[in-house]
């Protein structure tokens, strides 16, 4: 098992965002987190990446308790990649420098080798001509693909994707999803919070429905999305269908 969250609790003031939440992710598995806004999807991803401290429970990566306060969070994050809803590219750096910053500074790899690898990646995702551009010259879809490459060049064990298509214009969603599908085929372990139910169905091995910070229902996509047992899940999916997103 690559990642396991055991009885995780997270509160912001008096609001309980994650409530006794447990979740397991095997290597090469893709898990889609679905649920309404505020159900705790993004918070869970941020907790796994140690961007926020949890209030109770344990998170293990490769069996190691990463929520132990003696663990160096920087070292843990080097093994986890994360992609954000709003891309969060560094606006003062070119695309190439955005990608090579962490490999060179954190992983102490040679600049030339990293550059080569970054260019190969950009070529693969059709952005080779953007290497020397600044992020504000790119479309949302292009920026998000760069952000994914930026996370991948560090060869993470696990990739966290936080609603990576939510900020994109509809016609740009496809190019990002295609890229993620390619990663799945290569065996990348991923946890993705998403509102794209159709995509979750195609790409996920397991779909987890979060409600009020708890796992209400989890299982293969056909079951959770096609024949949910919980009334709350059916209600949620009905509203999604109404909005035309399934």
């Amino acid at each position: 098992m690559l990642l396991s969250c055991e009885h995780v609790r997270k509160t912001f003031g008096s609001a309980v965002v994650l409530d006794d939440l447990s979740l397991e992710v095997d290597e090469h598995q893709v898990v889609a987190l679905i649920g309404a806004s505020g159900s705790g999807k993004s918070t869970l991803l941020r907790c796994v990446n140690l961007l926020t401290d949890i209030d109770d429970g344990t998170i293990r990566l490769d069996g190691e308790d990463i929520t132990d306060p003696r663990v160096n969070p920087d070292e843990v994050r080097q093994r986890i990649g994360m992609v954000f809803q709003s891309y969060n590219l560094f606006p003062h750096m070119t695309v190439l420098r955005n990608i090579t910053l962490a490999p060179v500074r954190v992983h102490k790899r040679s600049a030339a080798e990293t550059r080569e690898q970054a260019l190969q990646w950009l070529d693969r995702v059709g952005l080779a001509d953007k290497a020397d551009s600044y992020p504000d010259r790119l479309s949302g879809g292009q920026q998000q693909r760069v952000a994914i490459v930026r996370a991948l060049v560090n060869s993470p064990r696990l990739l966290l994707l936080d609603e990576v298509t939510s900020a994109l214009d509809p016609e740009l969603v496809g190019e990002v999803l295609t890229m993620i599908r390619g990663l799945k085929d290569e065996g990348m372990t991923m946890v993705l919070a998403t509102h794209e139910m159709g995509f979750a169905r195609q790409v996920a091995d397991r779909v987890v429905f979060l409600d009020g910070g708890r796992v209400l229902e989890a299982g293969p996509p056909e079951q959770v999305l096609g024949d949910p047992t919980e009334a709350r899940t059916r209600q949620f999916l009905a509203r999604i269908i109404e909005a035309g997103r399934l």
């Binding site: 994050r77 080097q78 969060n88 560094f90 910053l101 500074r105 954190v106 560090n154």
Partner: protein, 282 residues
Amino acid sequence: MSTELHQPSEIQRGRIAYRRRQTIRSVLLAALSTAVVGVLLMVAVTGAPGWDRVKQSFFSPEVAWRWLPQILEGLWLNVRLLVVCAGLALALGLLIATLRTLRGPVFFPVRALATGYTYTFRGLPLIIVIYLMAFGVPGLRLQGTPGVLVLGGAALVITYGAYLAEVFRAGIESVHPSQLAAARSLGLTYRQTMRHVVLPQAIRRVAPPLLNDTVALQKDVGLVSLAGPIDAVRAAQIGVAQDANYTPYIVAGVLFVLLALPLIGVTDWVTLRAARRQSAGA
């Protein structure tokens, strides 16, 4: 696509003609009102009962010409002092602002000192700092106490360092938390995040206010004359005392304005560029 081939329609040609007429009208109006205001001001000043005496004691060409060389020589001191002090104050400000962002209990005294420093020296009048430095420090009779010029310069650096530290801090805080999250998620340490992600963006963003404070420093450099060194203001003061005529002050004032113009120009240009970048980026 076909912008060059496109022939504006009748309506559009009408609009263009109308806008052109409006532009001509506004230019004429602006010229007229400027002329009226200018004439009124001139009449008010030159028609004042004491104008002849003011002209004699503030705008005497002979006095101006006699003291210009000494004042220019003094101004050269101001320029050198400005360059050195601006550089040091910027470095000090950046250092203090960075110290204030340090986290962890070990750094508490450092943070507290840095915070206390910015609070104190933003409130303390520069003149008092100059007096304390130039007259208080030599009073200690320590070995190797530097001259009043260095001490006066140090007073400027300490005071402006506090202002600039606050400008830098505002810049650091203006960088969106999502940038920190992105940097940390890549495994960068806090220090690497500050150095490669936060500070470069912060400095770019606060370049206009930093330059603006440098313009303010440019004229406050004249205050070191209080400590004794013969800068432009001091040279003018000597002239005023000898000729019993205020013209040397006017000369020094004009020179200070001329000295500030390029810096103000650069500031405006940088501000404009920053504004353009923001509206283009978004």
